[in-house]
Symmetry: C2
Subunit: 543 residues, 2 copies
């Protein structure tokens, strides 16, 4: 069994937390680890477990792992759970962690959790770097490529973003970003003040280590990385304001969001998201799960996972900052706008609900009961013959797609009610379609069987039936995930991870004909390619 | 030297914190206390020191008292500072604490501060009590008294509020409230929906122990206390919404504000105030210093001491709560509206500034440099012959009153600029006037000399000169503070504390003729009478 290799950016993360004064735990009454092993295991926990269980281990999508819960289970039982998973939704890790690592993790979670440090605005500012001065930005693209059909692709375990030419399928460059980038976002078409032809030119990445990078697609490949900063020790999402002036990123730790100058990445404003959940309990680790920019309001949408609060943040005046906090349900995860851009639809996964907020009235619009642990990823909107405009989500907890009406003006009877459900072979993470396509694509990444995990399914918008199950890869240890259409909707790009050799460029993207559903091309040499962002589709909200 | 006696409510406070699971500190490397003495001293610190230095001892108006700061000073030096005070503004406590208590406090502050527990909305709800059912509230006053000239008077160290008939000067009753009530507020004239003749009928007290009590002035004396709840372990301020539907109270610990049903006191919504200060540093102990209700907007104003954030909280929709956070200066303390009710003027005491916010545009309007440590208490507005409408403040740090123009529409050249300053004999806490009066009254509670501390000064609105220094009391250990006018402005009521016998009814209120400035009456039998609230003046904003 292979040990994980961590890139430089991960070491930087560990150093960053250590030098910032992370307090190591006083040994609890139970088992202990040496200081060195405690630190190694703390990092492993942070990278692989904290996402679901929290840095403070209070539990979120995953269970509470504080000593009061874990000491009664004991070393042997905990090792088994980590190795083989549970019926409750816990993954197996015996193919990823060594026996030694599993043993240490089982011990670590019986000890008091170390509390990571805060990060001040002054610290963030000290991390800001300029690689290309704004005055030296080119005034037109410096390459002859069709940059609006570029794909910006997260290479998760390499800590890089690949820029791929959608026309030629060439990998143009790999850009150093933060570790395990979760999301990349560009400027979008909006009631925008910045030059129309520049929309989609600048892209912003957020690493799991809180590192923010700015990419200029007009540059020559070696100069595309133009600026960098760091706004947290642990982060997940980022967005660009409609006027192109600001970038906002959300921290898992510290639990806050930071608004930066979109030109220089200079951090301007930091706002804590710590607060009370919908039941009125105080949550210290109130993590920003997701951040979006409203296409029709001068607002950011900030989803706070543990508190179930949907924040609408008006970015017109950062010194006198107005935020509406809409109480919804726990735990918020990821979402997407309806086609009009007025309503935002987001998964409250542990509540098995899709939450809908109205960004015009700034009120909770509706909560829709769906299947177990909804997870739409970038989501999908399309037109259904009976229900009119609909949105859909996959689920982490079961092989099912829930589809609901999302047009309260034109189809009030169907709005925010389940229209139909599609049964798939396994639970998935991502759903995707395109306005030109007859089909909706879903992955099945969360199914334990390789055959299912390696297949995506395609269903027909008209018949609601699955028309094809596509085995994207058959190689051992590999899995298929995340679909993205090209600019004109004629191709669908699907990622393939190499789960057991995650940090080497042995992953790929498989390109399918969107009409015939036949394979067209394989783009090799990618390291755990994950989210893929087509410039044209993302800047025009073509989902 | 006398030991402090604590009433039942204080014991309740200690028990409340203990049973809620306050974590006692692990002994630091320095000196330690036995568990019993640690707990006693922790309570003493909380009662007498935490206000300025913070429960977590990070410092605010007072200095940082964490072990890193205190261990280098050492036991002997710390005892001296506690006993005799400092030039920097620290009070002397040798007349209040025993030698043993001073010794223990000096040791306590060299140990790690214990972190008090959180309080959930469910806990708050469990504290709510109904003494008179709303259906049994009388439909007209049950006594023949002129209740609109009642004074509701805080009896600080007794944990009671005295109701005094302003016409007859009789103490009608003493009502059990929280410990050391800081502020009492009633319903005010507003664009109000509740019956006009009921305005000023209900009063709400907030104890230092977070206890909230509702008083009905139409009741017979023994039934005036109609409801109770508790929203924090430590609190300072309270307000009633303009529509009379909600009561809001602010916590020092936990640092949050709570919106309650004004009828039943049922806690409905809790919002954390933890967050970043104006420099971008995270503040865990971000205390609500003051809370007010806007006379012209459907908004509460919440001043967060350590973060310098002025929050305007829209109470129209508690589930979708909109808050504008205006960054101003640290550390916010207390304030008052201008005569139009549009602008709110508040002291940022450690910044030596008066902060002005515009509640209409929800923006910071101005910051005015004033003298050292401004403290206006309830504040004072009047008309100056040259500057037009003005506001004024006393200062904790020096014997000076700063007066500024506050009419940006009618007198734009004078607005938010110092108009003049009046030198007084000593630093004070309260300033007060009335629209019918030629004079402005200030106290000098912060001066160490008994003669000055026992005198209030009166200056002329026209000449700007001090016309009289009134020695309110000459008794040893007594001090004069806080002025309030009666309903028609013909009398000024001044409080007298017995500092050394604070918990017995040996304090008094001295009533002066507002025109001749001669003494008219002494109301005896009061325990440390502090803030006094005349029903008519407070409900009509007559300052």
């Amino acid at each position: 069994m292979k040990k994980l290799k961590f890139g430089l950016s991960v070491i930087g993360l560990a150093i960053g937390m250590a030098t910032a004064g992370v307090s190591t735990a006083a040994p609890a009454k139970g088992p202990t680890l040496s200081e060195k092993v405690f630190e190694e295991t703390s990092l492993l926990y942070f990278q692989r477990c904290a996402g679901c269980h929290g840095v403070l281990r209070k539990g979120a999508t995953g269970k509470n792992l504080e000593p009061e819960s874990t000491l009664t289970k004991g070393q042997v039982r905990l090792e088994k759970i980590i190795a083989y998973g549970t019926e409750g939704g816990m993954n197996n890790f015996d193919d990823i962690f060594s026996k030694e690592q599993i043993k240490n993790l089982a011990t670590f979670i019986q000890m008091e959790p170390p509390v990571p440090p805060e990060m001040s605005l002054a610290q963030m500012k000290s991390f800001t770097k300029e690689f290309v001065a704004p005055k030296d930005y080119p005034t037109k693209p410096l390459h002859g490529r069709n940059w609006k059909n570029f794909f910006v692709v997260i290479e998760r375990d390499a800590g890089t973003a690949a820029i791929i030419d959608g026309d030629t399928k060439e990998i143009i460059t790999h850009i150093n970003t933060g570790y395990a980038v979760h999301v990349i976002k560009g400027t979008e078409h909006h009631k925008t003040e910045h030059p129309k032809d520049e929309v989609g030119r600048f892209w912003y990445t957020i690493g799991r280590d809180g590192k923010v990078n700015k990419i200029d697609l007009w540059q020559t490949p070696e100069k595309m990385l133009v600026a960098e900063t760091k706004m947290a020790y642990d982060a997940r999402d980022i967005a660009v304001s409609g006027d192109g002036k600001y970038v906002i990123a959300g921290g898992y730790w510290p639990p806050h969001f930071v608004i930066m100058d979109a030109v220089t990445l200079d951090p301007l404003k930091v706002v804590s998201t710590r607060g009370y959940n919908t039941k009125g309990d105080y949550i210290n680790e109130a993590r920003v799960a997701a951040i979006y920019t409203s296409p029709i309001q001068s607002s950011f949408i900030v989803a706070v996972k543990e508190t179930g609060q949907m924040l609408q943040v008006d970015y017109n005046d950062l010194d006198n900052l107005t935020i509406t906090s809409m109480a919804s349900a726990e735990f918020l995860h990821d979402g997407f706008f309806d086609p009009t851009g007025r309503y935002f639809q987001i998964a409250a996964n542990a509540s098995n609900k899709m939450v809908v907020i109205d960004t015009k009235t700034r009120k909770l619009e509706k909560m829709i009961d769906v299947a177990k642990l909804p997870h739409p990823g970038p989501g999908a909107n399309w037109i259904d013959e009976e229900c009119g405009p609909v949105g859909g989500t996959t689920h982490l907890g079961e092989g099912s797609v829930s589809i609901w009406g999302n047009d309260p003006i034109g189809h009030p009877d169907q709005a925010w009610k389940l229209c139909y459900e599609v049964e798939t072979d396994g639970p998935g993470v991502f759903i995707r379609t395109h306005e030109t396509s007859d089909y909706v694509w879903v992955d099945q990444l969360k199914h334990p069987e390789p055959e299912v995990q390696q297949s995506v399914q395609v269903f027909d918008k008209k018949t609601h039936e699955i028309v094809k199950t596509i085995r994207v890869t058959e190689e051992e240890g590999k899995a298929a995930l995340h679909m993205e259409f090209n600019d004109d909707g004629t191709e669908v790009w699907v990622s393939v991870w190499n789960r057991v050799d995650a940090s080497n460029p042995t992953g790929e993207i498989v390109v399918y004909d969107a009409k015939t559903l036949e394979e067209k091309h394989r783009i090799k040499g990618l390291t755990t390619p994950t989210g893929k962002f087509n410039v044209y589709n993302r800047m025009n909200h073509k989902t």
